[in-house]
């Protein structure tokens, strides 16, 4: 197929894109005892996917993405605790709105800077929210967070509780699928194309008259809203929320997930989240320190040798075998 035709068909669904969803549904029937863990994996995928939009596509390096995850997580928790608003689906919407609003407000001011200043500012924004959550103990529970939250039925129909793992899993899967559709649509639109342009060559995008800053702010806002949904799912699935949702280690964690999978490609978040979560599940409980050591060494190796993650390595292999050496 010629290059222009391939470009024009880029957004068409390919057969293998059904695989992750079929696998996820298959896992629902194959591992009924692991559905709580599966839900955590789905949440991590969504969080990493939201980061991919800003980091992988728009090229904005951030250390503060957990700010939006935490904003969503706390929104749902506070609504349930103080207002008795425990319907999960509308909770997700509220979380998306709050996180999106924070993303828009911070994006408008932060994205005027770049480089190290931007990195610092994203870090500061997250630390600011973390401190605010720590201080407003009356609303947020302070250092201890809000334990023992319970949520109502989804749309008043399906039971949703920490004990109902099956509905939880399917609910998270549905939320992930919807968010994925949004991201996919965005990425393959002309908007997504211009984001990639901004990432690759900022000056040229300015020169051709693209509204660079607005594009970045919109991508940042959408990504924040999606991260907020992931945070809200986290609170709903676990029935608690505490300061750990806002920390630097969560920001670094999701960065690692995305990098391991490969950034700037839609399915990198999936591969990275599954690989990371399964390894963590197997190793972290038994050998937490060795796990941390391995993680650190892996990151160093990825930064030095494999900048496109697991999928990137497969791509390189495929290219090598598809085209015989001249």
């Amino acid at each position: 197929m010629s290059a222009p035709a391939e470009l024009a068909r880029r957004h068409h669904w390919r057969w293998w894109e059904a695989l992750p969803w079929l696998l996820a549904l298959g896992a629902f029937f194959a591992f009924p005892t692991y559905l709580a863990f599966g839900t955590q994996v789905l949440i991590t995928i969504l969080f990493a996917l939201s980061l991919d939009l800003v980091l992988g596509y728009a090229g904005i390096v951030t250390l503060g993405h957990a700010a939006f995850f935490g904003a969503g997580a706390y929104t749902v928790g506070m609504l349930a605790l103080h207002l008795g608003w425990s319907e999960p689906l509308s909770g997700l919407l509220a979380a998306a709105l709050v996180a999106g609003a924070i993303g828009l407000a911070s994006g408008l001011v932060l994205l005027r800077t770049h480089g190290l200043a931007l990195l610092m500012l994203t870090l500061c924004t997250m630390a600011l929210l973390e401190q605010a959550a720590n201080m407003g103990a009356h609303w947020t529970g302070g250092f201890d967070g809000m334990p023992g939250l319970s949520f109502g039925k989804i749309l008043g129909l399906f039971g949703f509780d920490a004990l109902y793992y099956r509905s939880q899993y399917l609910y998270s899967l549905a939320a992930l699928f919807l968010c994925f559709l949004i991201v996919r649509k965005l990425v393959y639109s002309s908007f997504g194309q211009s984001l990639t342009g901004i990432r690759e060559n900022l000056l040229r995008m300015h020169a051709v008259g693209a509204p660079v800053r607005w594009r970045q702010v919109i991508a940042y806002t959408v990504s924040a809203a999606l991260a907020g949904v992931a945070g809200a799912l986290f609170t709903q699935a676990n029935g608690y929320v505490n300061l750990a949702v806002l920390g630097l280690e969560r920001s670094a964690g999701v960065l690692i997930v995305l990098i391991l999978g490969g950034y700037g490609r839609l399915y990198g978040a999936f591969v990275g989240a599954i690989a990371y979560m399964v390894l963590e599940h197997l190793l972290a409980k038994a050998y937490p320190t060795a796990w941390q050591l391995g993680l650190g060494i892996t990151l160093i190796a990825v930064a030095l040798f494999a900048r496109n993650g697991v999928i990137g390595m497969f791509d390189a292999l495929r290219r090598r075998f598809a085209r015989p050496a001249p």
């Binding site: 932060l110 190290l116 500012l121 870090l123 500061c124 720590n134 630097l248 960065l255 160093i300 030095l304």
Partner: protein, 290 residues
């Protein structure tokens, strides 16, 4: 509020600020020189702190000798890291640098936890440092006063080295315009290795000197990363006096705010940094880049 408590608050804040200065000054120069985002700088401070505390405990080294040992050993280790890990990524994007240095933090934190243990290490100050000194109008902790004097002396020494020696002139030239300096025959790579070693060694000394104030445990690099970065960002890259005043400012603010708003003090510092960086991305004392 009477004068004595005001003075003692200022001195306490200054002492904390000196620790921040000694740890962060190297970071400021290396980031200014290469534009390298080194998030692992705090990990070098932690390594130094451990080297200093453990040699005092197990080998019975006196405090000053332990500080010297910490400086030399961490400076040597950091050169190995710099040549093996940092050098290949000088021209890479920020993301790769962030990944590498965060990975290094994870690995070093885990390595220290594995080999020494997760508990907090207490530093045993020698008797001549742990008493009170009579200032004429009030008594104050000797150690804090020594920190203030030592930090200020270090600032003056570094400033003189920067402003009055050839190597200092080369570093300043390279910070201001790396390409121009290179084309004038300055070997920026070697300069960087040198300042990196010096900066990491100073961070190690800061880790040891500050163990009494900031504490020392394997989570140290994560806990104080934002603080070290804030000091550098406020002070401006590659500005020694800027980092000094920024560190004092933040040390005093932190100290005072923790007394009056025990819970919200840090919030205020982050908010101030945010506003400042938006208004002046080059920092309070930094010069605007070319």
């Amino acid at each position: 509020m009477d004068l004595n408590s005001l003075v003692s608050m200022l001195l306490g804040g200054m002492a904390a600020g000196m620790v921040l200065f000694i740890v962060s000054v190297g970071l400021s120069v290396t980031m200014g020189l290469m534009g390298f985002v080194n998030l692992a700088h705090g990990a070098f401070a932690m390594l130094g702190g451990y080297a200093i505390v453990l040699t005092m405990k197990h080998w019975g080294l006196p405090f000053p000798a332990a500080l010297l040992f910490g400086f030399v050993s961490v400076a040597a280790v950091s050169v190995v890291f710099e040549r093996l890990l940092y050098a290949p990524l000088y021209r890479a994007g920020e993301l790769d640098q962030v990944l590498l240095t965060i990975g290094l933090v994870f690995a070093l934190v885990a390595a220290v936890t594995l080999s020494v243990g997760p508990e907090t290490q207490a530093v045993q100050l020698p008797p001549w440092l742990s008493g009170q000194t009579d200032l004429g109008f009030m008594q104050y902790r000797t150690y804090s006063l020594v920190l203030i004097v030592a930090g200020t002396a270090l600032m003056i020494a570094l400033w003189l080295g920067f402003e009055r020696t050839r190597i200092g002139a080369r570093i300043r030239a390279a910070v201001d315009n790396r390409r121009m300096a290179q084309s004038m025959g300055v070997d920026v790579g070697r300069l960087f290795t040198l300042t990196f070693a010096l900066g990491s060694g100073l961070a190690a000394v800061g880790g040891g000197l500050g163990a009494e104030i900031l504490g020392l445990d394997p989570q140290y690099p994560f806990r104080y990363l934002a603080y070290f970065l804030i000091v550098v960002a406020v002070g401006g890259m590659g500005r020694i006096s800027g980092v000094y005043f920024a560190a004092i400012l933040i040390g005093i603010l932190d100290f005072v705010l923790k007394i009056y708003f025990p819970k919200g003090g840090t919030l205020f510092i982050y908010a101030l940094t945010l506003v400042l960086l938006l208004a002046r991305p080059q920092g309070l004392f930094g010069r605007r880049g070319p």
